[in-house]
């Protein structure tokens, strides 16, 4: 049975926002409305609103742990899709009171983490290729995740002495690694650390059983071992 469509007024009531806000979100890609063929009115599916209000962290985490089904709105199969959605996020964030100093840093940090997933795993994805990418401009969160090889496996090719996920994550965020041929990559996570160290941005990052926390305006790395061993990488940026 086809799902009943909600009018923009009904959707506004459910989400507790104004009609103008929904129109703006439709325009900037934050919550895209449906239009009937040839029509101009905006409609919404209840399931899309549920997703919109859902917990980004849980959806991403479930995907990395058990390869649960990923809603298309959060899935970037390749880096071209990711770049497009990154620009949409940039446009969406512009209307939410971010300072002109913080905005480019959030986009660049998300870009480096997401592109790392593609650069490190291209042609080597163990199962699902691509990444999870979601953002919430109200909660001020950006979530990225992949089911790739993870930091230890990829960095271990050029740093064979690395044995644990915690060692690998520490090196990835602190040491400039040169001579990574044939892989042209690296050093994006050092950028992430420098941004967090001097700005109102924080990061939670997980790869394997290593969990790293970078706190805003703080140069210190907090790395711990988790009970859970996850696939690929998971990142939560808060600002």
């Amino acid at each position: 049975m086809e799902e009943k469509l909600l009018t923009i007024a009904e959707a506004a009531e459910i989400l507790g926002v104004s009609l103008d806000t929904l129109r703006r979100w439709d325009k900037n890609g934050k919550l895209v409305a449906i239009r009937k063929e040839g029509g101009v009115h905006r409609y919404y599916r209840q399931s899309d609103l549920d997703l919109f209000e859902s917990d980004l962290i849980k959806i991403a985490f479930d995907w990395t742990i058990e390869e649960s089904e990923l809603p298309p709105m959060f899935y970037c199969e390749n880096s071209a899709v990711f770049q497009t959605r990154l620009v949409k996020m940039q446009n969406a964030m512009m209307g939410f009171g971010l300072s002109e100093n913080t905005l480019p840093l959030i986009i660049a940090v998300a870009g480096e983490i997401g592109n790392n997933s593609f650069d490190h795993n291209l042609g080597k994805w163990p199962d699902s290729l691509g990444i999870f990418f979601g953002f919430d401009v109200v909660k001020r969160q950006v979530v990225l995740a992949d089911r790739g090889l993870g930091i230890l496996s990829t960095l271990g090719r050029v740093r064979t002495e690395l044995k644990t996920h915690t060692e690998a994550v520490k090196v990835a965020f602190t040491e400039i690694v040169s001579g990574r041929a044939p892989e042209e990559r690296g050093n994006g996570l050092k950028f992430v650390r420098r941004v967090v160290a001097g700005n109102p941005v924080s990061l939670f990052f997980r790869s394997g059983d290593a969990e790293l926390r970078l706190k805003k305006d703080n140069d210190e790395l907090f790395i711990t071992r988790s009970q859970v061993n996850t696939r690929g990488c998971f990142a939560l940026i808060e600002y």
């Binding site: 990154l86 620009v87 840093l105 986009i107 480096e112 400039i176 050093n187 994006g188």
Partner: protein, 97 residues
């Protein structure tokens, strides 16, 4: 020659697009005289990242050395990226006074 990076886009993020930009710019390189300065202008760029910068600015620095000059900017994503690229390459960029 002055290169306005905004002509490559306002969100300069990935290695792939950095490579494409450098490749596109190579056709203009023959127009640069041997003693001519090459100036890079970040005006209009919203977001800049090390991946893009490493694919564009690093080969530019290799090719032009001290003839490559970066325009100063207040954009923090540019400033942190340029400093990181200097640390990676162990070479400083010239910044226009």
């Amino acid at each position: 020659m002055r290169i306005e990076l905004k002509k490559f886009g306002t969100t300069l993020i990935s290695r792939q697009s950095g490579k494409e930009a450098f490749s596109a710019f190579q056709s203009s390189m023959s127009l640069i005289k041997q003693d001519e300065m090459v100036e890079v202008d970040f005006d209009g760029v919203i977001t800049f990242s090390p991946s893009w910068g490493d694919e564009f600015l690093t080969p530019m620095l290799d090719k032009f050395g001290d003839r490559l000059v970066l325009f100063p900017t207040n954009n923090p994503s540019v400033k942190i990226t340029v400093k990181l690229l200097e640390d990676i390459n162990k070479r400083l960029f010239r910044i226009k006074a």
